[in-house]
Amino acid sequence: MLFRVDFKSGKAVYLQLVDQIRYAAASGALRPGEPLPSIRPLAEQLRLNRNTIAKAYSELESQGVIETIAGKGCFVKDNHSPFTKQARHKLLVEKIDDAWVTAHQLQVDAETFLELTKERLAFFERQAAKETPESKNTNAGGRA
């Protein structure tokens, strides 16, 4: 997967990576059992301090999104989020708030905003429909 880092976003760089990987895992761009890039090449590619990548990975591990297998690297975990429903909602609400604020700033009205979220949902569902058949096949062997 491709990462993007923006020093002007106001979010700590390691958290940007954490979010991107979490979303990739949630959207199917990264599937359970898939490896994450090793720290060194990723640090070189993004020209980031390797501590930043290591910090992102250890944060993801403590959130239960990835697991480290000694000598092999980091892998996306099976999609069982260890958070309680309440905690998951709280995380989501933060994102929704951000989006509402942005909508307000861009003068997008509430109706259009809700319409757009439905459109995005349909988009992700189409993506998932495309990916599921083959992902079942490749994962069955890989995770056994």
């Binding site: 002007k8 106001g10 700590a12 640090a43």
Partner: protein, 302 residues
């Protein structure tokens, strides 16, 4: 990890040249495993400080400790644990690349031949070439190989990429990240002085800005980007003159308003939002922008 001994500790350092105070009461603490940016304009005292760290200059006053040792007393013990890449590198011109590396290795207890071979390949440096025939970029690459192969605990870089072309600069930074940083993280500290700040932005996790030999600001890079933000607003009519407490550098230009938040960006955004702007954006300052604004930022913190 934060309780371990600092790799660099500078206390009240003064260095005078005649009547000029090149360094004037500087304090620094660099913890192991960090990449510390040492930023300042030309003549701010960066190179003088680094020369004091290396015992190339004696402090007029104050103290310098590396790994807890005094570099003027335990010079060999200190220097065997660090490597230094200056901005203008000089080698013996009659030696080849291979001979130069052998020569440098002869002073070192450790020398990682694999790293050396790897980097020679990566930079496509011909080992049989005379150093006098190398370009400025290749000379810096050779100096970097000589600095990283002994696997030092501290890598001191003084304007290492100035005067190099963008590709060599990029490779230089990738090498510091990849070849140098991939070792034991607690024993890989980088101290870099530069004004090509944008290129090192992702690498630097803490920095000091110095001016006239004195510390202006020392901050964690993420914390600094979180604290200092540029807010822009555009209104349908003339920009309102509402009071914006704590805002720095407020600029009004017709319908537009631009200001700098100093840890109070969300409150300022709130005030502006109440004025019903057509557009309202907020972004962090980059380290380079923080550097440019550092004098005002310092005044605002007092």
């Amino acid at each position: 990890m934060n309780t371990s001994q600092p790799v660099i500790e500078v206390n009240n350092l003064h260095r005078r040249f005649g009547r000029l105070d090149a360094v004037n009461g500087l304090n620094l603490r660099v913890r192991p495993g960090r990449c510390f940016g040492f930023l300042g304009r030309n003549g701010a005292g960066k190179t003088t400080t680094i020369k004091c760290l290396l015992n190339l200059l004696r402090p007029t006053e104050g103290s310098v400790r590396l790994f807890g040792l005094d570099p003027s007393r335990d010079e060999v013990a200190v220097k065997s644990r660090l490597a230094y890449v200056p901005d203008a590198v000089a080698f013996y011109p009659w030696m080849t690349v291979r001979e130069t590396l052998h020569y440098l290795a002869s002073f070192r207890q450790r020398w990682n031949g694999e790293v050396e071979a790897d980097l020679l390949r990566r930079f496509q440096l011909d080992p049989s070439k005379k150093t006098s025939d190398l370009s400025k970029g290749q000379r810096t690459q050779l100096a970097l190989i000589g600095a990283i192969s002994p696997e030092p605990e501290l890598l001191l870089l003084d304007e290492p990429t100035s005067g190099l072309d963008p590709i060599v600069r990029r490779e230089f930074i990738e090498t510091v990240i990849g070849a140098y940083q991939s070792g034991d993280p607690e024993r890989r500290t980088v101290f870099v002085s530069t004004h090509l700040i944008a290129e090192f932005e992702g690498l630097i996790d803490e920095f000091t800005i110095i001016e006239q030999g004195r510390e202006l600001i020392t901050m964690d890079a993420d914390a600094a980007r979180d604290r200092y933000r540029k807010i822009r607003a555009r209104f349908s009519g003339p920009a309102p003159t509402a009071s914006l407490p704590g805002a720095l550098e407020v600029r009004r230009n017709g319908r537009e308003l631009e200001l700098l938040g100093n840890g109070n960006s969300s409150q300022l955004m709130e005030i502006l939002r109440a004025q019903k702007p057509e557009e309202l954006t907020c972004e962090s300052l980059s380290l380079e922008e923080i550097f440019v604004a550092s004098r005002q930022l310092k005044e605002a913190r007092l």
